[in-house]
Amino acid sequence: MIGTVSISPLTRIEGHLAIHASTEPAGTGDEQGFRVSEARCEGEMYRGFEQILVGRDPMDAQQITQRICGVCPVSHGIASVQAQEMAYGIHPTRNGRLLQNLILAANYLQSHILHFYHLAALDFVDVTAVLAYEGVDRTLQALKTWVATSLARKDVFPAAPFLPRFEAEYVKDADRNIALLAHYVQALEMRRVCHEMGAIFGARLPHTTALVPGGCTQVPTMAGILEYQSRLKRVLGFIEATYLPDLLEVAKEFPDYFEMGVGYNNYLCYGVFPMDDGYTDRFLRPGVVMDGAWEALDPSAIREDVAQSRYANAAPKHPSQGESQPQANKSDAYSWIKAPRYKGSPMEVGPLARVMANYLSPKDSFVKAEVDAFLSQVELPAEKLRSVLGRHVARGLETKWIARQAFRWLDELQIDEPPTRDFELPKTGSGVGLTEAPRGALGHWLAIKDYRIERYQCVVPTTWNCSPRDSAGKPGPVEKALEGTKVRDEAQPIEVGRVVRSFDPCLACAVH
């Protein structure tokens, strides 16, 4: 007996995603429920950025590509300016590099905080627990009154958008739920403060206008450095005293999720945050983990497969030669997402991939000590990181590392030195920008002819993670991670949502 489970649309992610899965009975006897035997990720939106970019002035690209995604625009901006900088034959000035890092760091912090509290947490936290609140906190009192009155009045949509929801097992302890809700509210403020930090050097967020090839238009000032630093202290305090402890509370309550959503043992990381003016080292370094074994990154081994994607059929191509001819009604396709593969294999990208690529690397890295310290604290072996909770943990740890590192970049800024390096636009040229968005490995490939964009291809984190099957029929990483997921109630498959959200999908990115 085969059943089906669908979440369409999957909310609390960026963009338009549907999940369709087949299930089978989980077992006999006392074991109840179902188990996912096969899953499909369907990207439901296509805009065609790559065609829109062709023929434009190359400098337009960093503004246009930021609009691929409003959650991680800075990462697209960075990938685009890096591709341009390579084509123009320059690196940013020291200030330019540091300012780019600081704007990107601010957006990483806002994105990760947003993901944990506002996208993922409602799968675990019981909002209705606020009804038992007896304390004097104004916000919680107001929330309680709001939920209570709208439930009691039998409103058509009580406590929307927090209700309705799937009826499932949430955190049981009322006080813990109430604390998590209070932090949901506090996190709204914290992520806003992170965007203020980004705007201090980036003019505004989302969609920074200050980022340019060669650096940043904002001259660093003492006042700006202090404004950023003061906010960063508050945010780091929140990460250490609230976000990471909350993550551990959720982990304690749902230990099963260290076993679920395992996926492939393949991880890809391009590296992010250049540490030196020659761009030889990154704060989080590039690396590949193939079936559990570390190897050095070789960007020439990337191909994009479109066998089951809504694009004209073609042999898998490297992004520098890539094409995106849409075919909305292609019969054997089920997604707008392409299927990027590395040496023919599906690869997971994101915070967990960055942690794995650095943890397993033969090079010495702070990541090893940090991860080992965490694992001994929770008494778990490293392989348990390959799970739903492992992805949340990797994201949380990384948030702390980036916040701490940002203080050092602030210290390195030189207020008397220029924030940009000038450049000449070349008649022809090409460039690649490889960086990491909060959601994973991000690459932009640019070719210039007659001072215009001849070709522009983006391979984006969620393109990797939510990719459909390829021409060999191999499922994408999220599809693979869903296999074996236990579902208690097929009509309310909250477990499926928990697995998918651990990847922090961004569909506007995946299909651009």
């Binding site: 939106m45 625009p73 506002h118 929330l143 709001w146 505004r204």
Partner: protein, 322 residues
Amino acid sequence: MHGHSRREFLQMGASLAAALGLGQKQAIALADGLERLAEQKTRVLWLQGMSCSGCSVSFLNTDTPDPVEVLTEMISLVFHQTISATQGTQAMETLSKAVDEGNYCLVVEGAIPLTMQNACTIGGKPLATLLPPILRNAQAVVAAGTCAAFGGIPAAEGNATGAASVKECMEKAGIPVAKRLINCPGCPVHPQTLVATLAYVANKRFPDVDPVLLTPTAFYRHSVHDECPRFHYWEKHEFAEKFGDEGCLFKLGCLGPLSHTNCPRRQWNSGVNWCIRAGAPCIGCTNEQFAKKKDFPFYRKGEQYHAVEYQEQDRKGPKDET
């Protein structure tokens, strides 16, 4: 719940408190809550078309009021793809129930693909067919951001989807736009502009709008150039030559004269900075033509090398102060 007296609210609060096992102090708080909620809650449905969610993220950057105040005191956000707890079939049912009930304001973020309809689907249904009945039943429609207001980047030259604005979608479906559609452009929309527009709608009022662009005049009347803090450099013909320079940013590509918005006064992200103050040329993100033409680049560095589709005067806007 309209038309109840204070006494009735107190009674309701008391019975509610009793039902929940709470004391007298709580009863008064509940009565206050009931009274406030009964008076102010306007249902809002928020749908995303071909969008990047940047306008949703920008909305969350509202500081006064903060997002929780907006959600619990000002409006009832019945559905939002990025924020709602609900998902899947339950989400689609919530949406259709809300549409059947009527009496809601619709916020649209993103453009709508009118020709390649598969290019945006929600719950497996093309947005281009899902949206018209929802638009028709709405008391007010707010197009949040330049994609929804004017098509934006998805509708730029070379697109294959037939991406269109909310206005085009309504006109195609024969839905009147006057006194119903409010355009709030910006890439992204400014959070305070959006929240203030929602405040009009939540209070059953319709803001004064530009007769052609349908943008609220309170926020979109003046150009960035008119209120620019670097205007004195323009008057003295002192221009920045490269990024990071002092001076008027016009020769780097600033589109302040073409961009009608209150950025110079409001600034961005709780007022910490904004484009011109950061030395970044205005890219004209509230303009109807934002990003649309391949031959109208944001920056002017390249114009000496390749053909462009504008004259100097086109970048200066209708008024030329020099």
